[in-house]
Structures are given as C-alpha cells and as structure tokens.
Amino acid sequence: MSYSTISLTIIFSWIVLTLLIGVLAGIKKKFSLDGYLVSNRSMGFIFLYVLLAGEIYSAYAFLGVAGWAYSYGLPIMYAFGYGTLAYAFGYFFAEYIWRAGKKFSFVTQADYFRKRYNSKGLAVLVALIGIVFNVPYLQLQLQGLGYILHATSFGSISVNTGIVVGMLIMLAYVYTSGLRGIAWTNLMQSIMMFVIAWVILFSIPFIKFGGISEMMKHLAQVKPHHLILSGKMGVSWYISTMVLSGLGFFMYPQMWPSIYSSNSLRALKKTYVFLPLFSIFLLPIFLAGASVAAAGIHLGRADEAVLTAVTMVYPKWVLGIVGAAGFAAAASTASAIILTLAGLLSKNLYGMFKENASDKELVLVSRISVLIFGLAAMFLALFAGGRLVALLLLAYSGITQMFPGAFMGLFFKRFNKVAVTSGLIAGLITITYLKFFGPGNLLGIHFGLWGLLVNVIITFAISAVSKEDENFRPFKKALQSVEV
C-alpha cells in the first residue's frame, strides 16, 4: 500500500468514526431547547473538560502556533500565557455565568445581557456582534480544515472537497445531537489532539537535532531574533496582547453555553483548575515549528510548518495521523461555533421578535440556523476566501469589548444599558479606527486594549451621572440564591 493510501485511510476512518459517535449521541433523543443547546445542564467534569478543551483549541492551534514559532519564535509565548490567564480569570468569572444560567434558564450569552440590563436592544447588539465576528472565524476553521486534509492526503482530497466533507460531517452531528453530539465527539477529538502533539510532535527536535537544547542552539545561529522578544513584537506588545486575549477569552459567545451546561459548580470549577494542563500541548507544537526554522528550511507559507516538521523525521504516511488530529482540532471548534450562532439566531433574534414561540419551534429554528450558518461558512470558505479578512482582524478585539458589560456589570451598580451600550459602541469605533485608519498598535500596545480603555472610560463616565440601575440588586440576589 502506498503512503498516500495509508494516510487517506487513516483520515477517512477518523472522519467516519467522528460522524458515527456524533450522530449516535443524539439520534434517538427528542430535544428541548435546553437539551439541544446546553445538554440539559447535565455535563459532569470529564465531558465538560473535553468539551471546552476541544472547543478552545482549533486547527490554528496546530497551524498557527507552529507557523508563528517558525516565522517569529518567542512572541507566540503570548499564547502560552493568555490561555492560563484566561483560565485563572474564568475559574472565578464562570461561576457567575453558570449561576445566572441555572437561575434564569439561559442558553446564550445575549440572554445574560438581556436579563442583567433588562434590554432587548443590548441583547440583540450582543447577539449580532457574536455572529458578525464569529462567522469569519468559522470560515477560517473550514479553510484550515480543507488545507490540512488536502496536504495530509497528498492532494488526494482537494481543499474544496475537504471543506465540503468537513462541514457536512459537522452539520450531520450538530443538527442531530446538538451540544451532546459535540461533547461526545470532543471526547475523542481532544484526546487525539493531545496525544498526537505529545507523541509525534514532541519527538521531532530530539530525532532531528538530538534534543531541545541542540535545536535551540541551531535556531540561535539561523534565526537569533527568534529567541527574544524585540522590535514590533516586543515586551509591550507581548503583555498587552496577553492581557487583551486573557480578558477577551470569555467574551466569545461559544464559551457560554458550555458553562451553562455544567451539572454543578464543582464540575465547572474543577474544569478550570485543570484546563491549563491541556494547554501545555502547545509546547510540542511550538517545538515542531521552531525545529523547521532551526533546520534552515524555507517555507512558502508559515502554516506548512507543522506538516513540514513531521515529514522532516517521520515516514510520509504519518501525516495521515496528523491530518486526523487537524480535522479533530478544526471540527471540535467549528461545531461549537455553529451551535452557538444558531442559539443566538433562534433564541435572541427570532425568539425576541416572536415572544410566544414554543420550545419546540425554537428547537426547529435552532436546527435550521445550524444549517444556515454551516452552509454560509462553507460557501464563504469555498468562494470568498479572503473577503472577510477585515472582520477577522477585528474579531478578538471586537469581542473583547463586551468585557465591561459582562464582567464589570456584576460589581458596579450604576452600570446600565445606556452606559454599557455606549461604551461597547465607542470601543468598536476605536478599534476600527486604529486598525484601518490610524496607527494600529499605538505605542506598541495592542489596538484592542486601547478600544477597551475607551470603552471602560465611556461606560464609567455615563454610569457616574446615572442612578443605581434597578436591575442590579435583583440580579445579584438571584445569583446568590442559586444552590450549588
């Protein structure tokens, strides 16, 4: 059997296994909206852990981290830092989200904003921001997935075929099984990602150079600036990007349904205690990318680094295993995004304008929304590769602008819908100006952090001249009344 046939067999087997497990997880179940979007708040520690780990680490954990390690070296350390910072923050913040979800039966992030600020308009704005900034992210996942399947099958699967097959598989199990299907598939996807990173990628610098130290010494000769933060990606950039990403992490709407789905506060907290240990799989990915740079190999595109690293030391068919892991990483993230966007569209846009919609109707609309977003992202990936790049450049910074409303609104009683909406809009205007019309990272500090600063100032300024928000105390009291 040729190496490309072996590789293709491995990838195909993995994809079929994913489909079977995802569909079987929910095919015989009749779902309520709670059941479909947040799995009836029944997730224990193990499922919650793999659900989040799979959701958080995407195709770009493999392609991007190795690509940055190859192109820039140490600046990618910000990704090591921000994940851990986000989990340390999330350990405390997620408790409030979970309590609110349990008390008021929330299924989306926008539900939270609607209740805390008693504002349909703000909830719609939050839902739209979540959708607008996540669709390009979803498209990017699909493009990454298509690329990985194409490269690791040695061209047997074209990029477009990879995109279509990947999306159809995801749609099948997300449509059928909702969050339950994602949790079951993520159980295998996250194990696959972790094992492949540690077994295959970690060994690369040892096989190629004789150890990590030896690889770093080579790297110091070939690319000396890779081993220290300097220039445009200096310390200011590193810290501000880490802080922005650490704070913005929980503002991504796909984090919220997973938190709501926890069956207890203990399970939720334990998940955040141990999530940093999953993120350590970024280390072998970094080492793989750095090994390619240390070997003095020139790549056409940085995304190729992780695959090139594998072929440097292993037989070619091993790429099939890495392809399966890449599919796992992309599918586990993309499927959660699709379901979250479907929830925002059905519950917060459709449901708000048709308030008497039944639970059954909302499940049907959610399922139709799954198909709408999945197919929209697929067509964008197929026919409009770079069209949404502007949105993508703003995505993380844009999503982070929800931080004052989501988190600070828990502690400042004068925060109200006018203040939060104004701050949010001011933040979005600031980042758009800095990124596309201004100097970008002013004073070397990430433009998203400047947006957040303007946002916070505006929110506080308007709150300062307002009375106490009448929703604040009842909301806080309700959260405290939740039994854990």
């Binding site: 350390m77 830092g81 851990t84 350990y91 770093m216 010494k217 907290k269 280390l283 854990v484």
Partner: protein, 70 residues
Amino acid sequence: MGKGMAVFLGFVIPWVMYVVVSPFFNYFDVKTASPLILGMPPLMFWDTLWIILTPLFLLLAYNIEKRGWK
C-alpha cells in the same frame, strides 16, 4: 481564609507571574546561545512553568472555596 485568599491564589498570583514578572525573563545571549533552562530560553521556561504551577494554585483556591459550598 475565604474568597479573598482564593482570588489571591488562583487569580492574582498567575496574572502577576505572567503580566508583571515574565518580561524580566526576556533575556538571551544569541552569541553563546545561553542561558537555556531545560533547553528553553528563560521566558519560554517561565511561561511553561506557570502553565504547570497555575493549576496547583487554582487547586488551592478550589479547596478554600469548596468549604463554603453547601
């Protein structure tokens, strides 16, 4: 020991270690390719170390907090 201590251990310490302390580890002599700690430049070593230490501090926070849960 209550919520304040849990926040200090689980939140303040990791954030300080990355945001405040880690930049001081941004040094490396490319001519001698040193220092390398477990094969890593100091900043990389520090950031990796705290991926491992943070769960320990979060576990301490968890143990403090769970005493207050019914």
